[in-house]
């Protein structure tokens, strides 16, 4: 089975002699990848909203007002209010925190653990590789959402448990991709050379293999970010993620929201837009990053 992401190690992609500064790299990225820059802008906006939710949100996201149930979107409540009279805009803003927290922590943990397993598997080979690969096969064959669902039911509804439930299915996917690259990096003459020079295994792995699998690692990390946010939303929607009254986007869409379709469609509208926009930003950015890191996809 081949990995869904192109596998490249792109350390040698910068032309020799003209190292770009970070600022120049960023400018180049913005100029050549306008869609990716747009994605980065969305992510940045989302981060700012999450960081400064206390300042930006017009109301307390937890406090209901029973005189104000199902208020239409207005100047006072831009996104209207929900069935408890809570301000939807404020809840969407605080929801960015949960989404980003789960997204970043889960995909970072899942990809790092998976990446390490992939490097170990590729470098040690033999029995270690065989056993790790079978383990990854098992995790891959286990339906992703059902695995997350089962883990979430074991651990109970809490944000940190959702992180675990979202991270575990990411591990085998990252391991696959990183292992494939590490296998080809391992065959390079320079690895043979340092081994011949008597370098310790640890040194070979940490100094020569790990840096060269960073590109696929970063690619899969950005690719998983959006997916992690979606899984969190799906879990919360199914009632196994974060619990009420936490303002999580998936949770805001679950249960009662669709049943108020006629009365108050905005309750189901805005959290969905927030999820889509956030994941859209991450995907646009990740996509362009992959194009930039992968010399094969560059326009000739």
């Amino acid at each position: 089975m081949s990995a869904p992401y192109p596998l490249v190690h792109a350390t040698a992609s910068a032309p020799l002699g003209q190292r770009l500064t970070v600022a120049e790299e960023v400018l180049k990225f913005v100029r050549t990848k306008p869609l990716g820059a747009g994605g980065a802008l969305i992510i940045l906006g989302m981060m700012l909203v999450a960081l400064f939710a206390e300042v930006l949100a017009p109301y307390d996201p937890y406090r209901g007002d029973y005189g104000l149930q199902f208020a239409r979107p207005s100047v006072d409540h831009w996104f209207g209010t929900d069935e408890f009279g809570r301000d939807v805009l404020s809840r969407v803003m605080y929801g960015a925190r949960i989404a980003l927290f789960v997204g970043f922590v889960a995909s970072f943990a899942g990809c790092t653990l998976g990446g390490l397993l992939g490097v170990v598997s590729a470098y040690w080979g033999g029995k270690v590789d065989l056993i790790l690969e079978r383990l990854m096969d098992v995790l891959l064959a286990f339906p992703q959402l059902i695995l997350a669902l089962a883990i979430a039911s074991i651990l109970g509804p809490a944000v940190q448990n959702v992180v675990v439930a979202v991270a575990i299915p990411i591990i085998p996917r990252a391991a696959r991709v990183v292992r494939a690259t590490a296998l080809s990096v391992k065959e390079n003459p320079y690895v043979e050379a340092v081994q011949a020079l008597g370098a310790l295994r640890r040194r070979v792995v940490l100094r020569h293999i790990v840096p060269n699998v960073m590109a696929p690692y970063i690619i899969i990390l950005t690719a998983q970010l959006g997916g992690a946010i979606l899984t969190e939303a799906a879990l919360s929607y199914l009632g196994l993620g974060t619990a009420e009254p936490t303002p999580s986007w998936g949770l805001m869409l679950s249960g009662s929201a669709p049943s108020y379709a006629e009365k108050a469609p905005w309750i189901a509208l805005f959290p969905g837009i927030a999820i889509s926009l956030g994941v859209f930003g991450f995907n646009l950015f990740g996509d362009s990053l992959r194009d930039a890191l992968d010399p094969k996809l560059r326009k000739v």
Binding site: M1, D137, L140, Q144, A234, A257, A261, E262, G272, F280
Partner: protein, 318 residues
């Protein structure tokens, strides 16, 4: 080729055994006792312990775990997945009631999205970095970004507001009343299919892009072939392999799509059945479903790999 097939078939055994053990362990680790749930609530001490023990014996979950596991595995080998702890009916029977709906949904969604996705992906690649490419890319990235349950909710909002729609009470198979079936299934298919189409479009685009850089494409241009012949006959054919793989890798997502879509549209399919079964701690049902899904996943991926090996002899000899 024969050794390759044999090797791949042998590798299925440990994977499925691993899945079987994992799902068995997970279901026993999930807190919440099924006997208490069946007897009504978990108010500790209110239910007679003798009654609980009797119920456990009746359900066959009073045995040691290893015995239970052995019995279950032995059953799986004979395609006997036991009986549901809740309904008391054989799990296979319960599944067969719900399978036609889920299969139709999965099949229709795959078919529709592949038919849309491959031409779009190809067009996007051939016209890279033009407005056509940007439009197709934005729509397809959107398909990955928009949660399928929200697409479902939007469909329902739309239907309720404009058509006074209510959820169908019972599934009508296409062979009974094709029109009623179409009305029931079209929105769920859109919900599941959008994501599928998006993923396939993106894959087609990037593989066609890669293939278009190959030397033989330049040769084809140099020969003076028309663009259409080059793209369809030379590029697309060679770009199709990774797209076929995608059917395998996306299978897991398809199942996830079924779970949420069936929940949104309150369809009585396999996906919703598994969510309910987890919530009700119906061990045999979850075990059977996860095992069968994993089995399907492994078989689909095996077929994909074999197609690959068939097309590309280099893989066989590795």
């Amino acid at each position: 080729m024969r050794t390759y097939v044999a090797k791949r078939l042998l590798l299925i055994v440990p994977t499925l055994l691993g899945v079987a053990s994992l799902v068995f362990v997970i279901m026993r680790v999930i807190p919440g006792d099924v006997t208490l749930l069946i007897l009504g609530g978990d108010q500790a001490g209110r239910i007679d312990p003798a009654q609980i023990a009797a119920m456990k014996r009746r359900l066959g979950i009073d045995q040691p775990l290893l015995v239970q596991f052995g019995t279950w595995l032995w059953g799986v080998l004979r395609f006997d997945f036991g009986t549901s702890l809740w309904s008391g009916r054989p799990v296979v029977e319960e599944l067969l009631i719900r399978l036609p709906l889920s299969l139709e949904l999965a099949f229709a969604a795959t078919l529709v999205s592949v038919l849309i996705a491959i031409p779009c992906g190809m067009l996007s690649a051939v016209r890279q970095d033009t407005w056509v490419d940007y439009v197709i890319r934005v729509i397809s990235i959107g398909g990955l970004a928009i949660p399928s349950f929200w697409v479902g909710i939007l469909c329902i909002l739309f239907l309720v507001i404009y058509f006074g729609w209510g959820p169908p009470l019972e599934y009508t198979p296409p062979w009974v009343d094709p029109w009623a079936n179409f009305q029931q299934m079209v929105w769920p298919v859109v919900t599941v299919g959008y994501r599928y189409a998006a993923v396939t479009t993106r894959m087609t685009r990037s593989t066609v892009l890669e293939v278009l850089r190959e030397d033989y494409i330049r040769t084809a241009w140099a020969k003076g072939l028309r663009e259409r012949a080059i793209v369809v006959r030379h590029a697309l054919k060679n770009a199709m392999l990774p797209v076929i793989t995608l059917i395998g890798t996306e299978f897991a997502f398809l199942i996830g799509g079924l779970v949420v879509t069936e929940t949104v549209f309150t369809l009585n399919g396999v996906g919703r059945f598994v969510v309910d079964a987890v919530a009700r701690r119906d061990y045999p049902v979850v075990q059977a479903l996860v095992f069968l899904i994993a089995f399907g996943f492994v078989i689909v991926n095996l077929l994909v790999d074999l197609t690959y090996a068939w097309f590309d002899p280099r893989i066989r000899y590795r």
